[in-house]
Amino acid sequence: MSLGYAVDALARWLTGSEDPASWAIAVAVFAVFVAPILLVVFPIAALGQILERKVAAAVQRRHGPNSVGFDGVLRLAFRVCLFFLPRARQDRLLAAFCALPGIKGLLHLARRLGLGQLVADGVKMLGKEDMVPSGADGVVFRLAPYLALTGAFLPFCAMPFAHHLVMLEVPVSALYAIAVSGITVMALLMAGWGSGNKFSLLGGMRAVAQMVSYEIPVALAIAGVVLWSGTMDLHAIVGQQYQPGVLTFLGWNLLQSPFLALLAVVFFLAGLAECQRTPFDMAEAESELVSGFNTEYSGLRWGMFAMAEYTEMLLIGALFASLFLGGYQSPIGEQWIVTWPVWLESLAHLLLFVTKVLASFLLMMWIRWTLPRLRVDQVMRLCWLKLVPLCLLAMVGLAFTILLGNGTVPGTAYGRLPALPRLDLGVLGRLAAWALPLALAAILVVAARKRHGQLHPALRQLTGGSA
C-alpha cells in the first residue's frame, strides 16, 4: 500500500524534499481527502435528494420542487453580514446586488430547480428533536448512523477519481472496496437492534439477509472483471481499459465480451440491492415496516442514514464506472487528455468520472420510480436462483474466452501506470467471442419461449395474444 500520487506530490511540495515529514503527509492526505470526498461526493449525495424528487416528478408526470430558491438565503446572508447597517440600507445593497447582470437569472434557475430545498431540508433536519427511545440500546443506537456513513465513505479512499487523484494506491483496492462497504451491514443491524422496536429489528434483519446475499453476485461480478484484467487494483483495471486512438470507449470492459456485459448488468442490479433501493428496499419497506431500520431515528441521525444511502448509490455508480465504463477516461480521444497539464487533466478526468457516476445515479432513480417493491422471498429468489447462477455462467464463459484466445500481448502503458499484459483475441476471435454466446443465448431464449412462453389458450383470448 502506498499513498497516491497527489498526496506524495503535495507532501513533497510542502516540505521541498524528496523525503517528506510526517506532518506534511498528514496535511496532504487531509487535503486530498477533502478534495475528492468532501467536495465531490458529499455535495452530490446531498444533491441526490433534489435530483430524486425531480426524477420522481418526471416519472409521475408532475412538477417537482420548483419554487424554493436562494432568495431567502441571500437576504439572510445580507442581514447577517451587514448587521451593522440599517435595514433600509441592507435592502438597497441587496437590490443593487440583484441588479448585477446574471444574478436574477441564477436566482430564477435555482428556484426552478428547487435548489433551495437543500438548505431548507438541512435546516429542518437540524431543528428536529434528537430522540432516543426509552427502550433503545443507547450506545448501539447512537453508533449506528456513524458506522453507516463510515461504511459508505471508506471505499472512496481507493477510488480512482482521476489519473492523479487516488488517495490510497492499494494493490487489492477492488477487494478493499467491497470489504469495507460490508460495515454498512453491521450498521443497519445495529440500528435495527438498538432501536428497541420490532419494526426496526425486522428491517435490520431483512437488511442483513439481503445484503449478505447480494454481496455474492457483487463479488462474483468484480471477480469476473478481475479474471479478465488480471489485477485487483481498481486503478490498474481502469488503466487497462485504455485504448489509444480516437474511439477510446471501444476499450471499455463493457464492450469486451458479452459475459462482461452480463456481469455489468448483474453488478448493477446487485448493487441496487446492496444500497437498499427500491425495488429491493426490504429494509425500509414503508408499506410493511413503517420505515424499517430507521423508524426510530430523527434529525441528524436520520440524515446520516439518508446520506449513507445516497453515498452508497454513488459508490455503486463509481465502482460500475471504474470496472465497466473505463473509470475516469474520456469516451473519445483519451490519449490527448493525458498529455494536458496535470491540473487540467485531473479536472477533466474528475468531471468525466462524475458524469459517469451521475448517469448510473439517474438510472437507479429511474428504476426506483418505475418498479414496485419485490416481496422478501422474491428478492432472495432473484439473488440465489438468477443472479448467482448468471454470474457463475459468465465466469465460466469468460474463462473459456480467455482460454481460447491467443494468450497475452504486452499492453499499452497509460500515463504513469505500467503496461499490463493484455488478452489477444484478434479481430476474428473478438467477433466470435461476441457472436457465439449471443447466438447460443438467442437459441436458448427461442426454445424457452416455445416451450414455456405460451399463454394458456383461454388467457391468450383474454389478453389478445400478448404475454
Binding site: 426524477v55 416528478a57 418526471a58 416519472v59 409521475q60 408526470r61 408532475r62 412538477h63 420548483n66 429511474w366 428504476i367 420510480w369 418505475t370 418498479l371 436462483l385 438468477k386 447462477p389 448468471l390 436458448l444 431464449v445 426454445a447 424457452a448 419461449r449 416451450r451 414455456h452 412462453g453 404475454a467
Partner: protein
C-alpha cells in the same frame, strides 16, 4: 428445467423493459411539458389562472339599474353580507342608493342569486382578491378607499369595469383621470361593484348595531306573538273545559 429458468429471466427482463419504456415516455413528455399534470397544472400565482367553464361561483355582481332593492338576497343570505339602501329617482322609481356586499363574509353559496327576482344579482367568474395588492385589493377590502359610483350610463359601466380591472400602472393618464372623476370620494351613494364592505369602522359599527337592534326587535316581537298565541290557546282550552268540570266522564 433450464428452459424454464431462461423463460423466467426472459419474462423478468421483458416486464422490466416494458415498465422502463413507459416511464421513459412519461419523462420525455414531462420535459416537453405535455402529458399528465405538467399539461394540466397551472403555476397559479406566477402564471395566470384559467377559469374552467362559466359556472364558477366567483365574486357577486349587482346590476344597479335593474335592482329593485327588494331585500330578497338579504333575507336569504346565511351570513348577512348585504347592506342596502333605497331611494326614489326623479321618475319616482326605486333604485339602490347603496348596495354593499361584504366579500370577507360571503361564502359564495349562490342563494342570493337564486332569490333575486330581477336577475340583477349574478356571480361572476372573478375570484382573485388580495387585501395587500394594489390591484386586486383596491375595490375589495380597503375600507375608506375610493370607490366606484355605479350609477352611470350603461356604456360607461362597461368601460369602468374594464379600467377598474386593469392595474393602475397600465392606464394612461387620461384613463386615470376619467376613472378618478367617476369615483365618489365621499363614500356615500355608492354601489359596490365587486362587493365593497363598509366605508369606515364607525359606520360598520352603526350598521351592525342597527342590524342587531332589528334582530332583537324581531325576536322580541316573536316572543310576544308566541306568548299571545299561548295565552289564546290557554283561553281556548279554558273555554272548552270549564273549571270544576274535569272533562267528559266515561260511561
Amino acid at each position: 428445467m433450464i428452459l424454464a429458468w431462461v423463460n423466467d429471466i426472459y419474462d423478468g427482463v421483458a416486464a422490466f423493459l416494458t415498465g422502463m419504456r413507459m416511464t421513459a415516455q412519461f419523462m420525455v413528455e414531462n420535459w416537453r411539458g405535455q402529458g399528465g399534470a405538467m399539461a394540466m397544472t397551472r403555476q397559479y400565482p406566477e402564471a395566470p389562472a384559467e377559469v374552467i367553464g362559466d359556472r364558477v361561483r366567483g365574486h357577486l355582481f349587482n346590476k344597479a339599474d335593474i335592482c329593485i332593492v327588494c331585500h330578497e338576497c338579504d333575507k336569504v343570505c346565511p351570513v348577512d353580507c348585504f347592506v342596502m339602501e333605497a331611494e326614489r329617482t326623479a321618475e319616482n322609481k326605486i333604485r339602490a342608493s347603496r348596495f354593499d356586499i361584504d366579500l370577507s363574509k360571503c361564502i359564495y353559496c349562490g342563494l342570493c342569486v337564486r332569490a333575486c327576482p330581477t336577475d340583477s344579482l349574478s356571480m361572476t367568474t372573478a375570484f382573485e382578491m388580495d387585501p395587500t395588492d394594489d390591484v386586486l385589493g383596491r375595490y375589495l377590502f380597503r375600507r375608506n378607499s375610493t370607490q366606484l359610483d355605479m350609477r352611470l350610463d350603461a356604456p360607461d359601466v362597461g368601460r369602468l369595469t374594464e379600467l377598474a380591472n386593469k392595474p393602475r400602472s397600465a392606464l394612461t393618464a387620461d384613463e386615470q383621470a376619467w376613472l378618478d372623476a367617476r369615483i365618489d370620494q365621499r363614500g356615500v351613494h355608492l354601489i359596490g361593484m365587486f362587493g365593497v364592505g363598509y366605508y369606515t369602522a364607525t359606520e360598520k359599527a352603526r350598521v351592525d348595531g342597527e342590524r342587531e337592534a332589528r334582530k332583537k326587535a324581531k325576536d322580541l316581537e316573536a316572543i310576544k306573538i308566541r306568548a299571545a298565541a299561548a295565552q289564546a290557546a290557554q283561553a281556548k282550552a279554558a273555554l272548552a273545559t270549564p273549571p270544576g268540570n274535569p272533562g267528559p266522564q266515561s260511561p
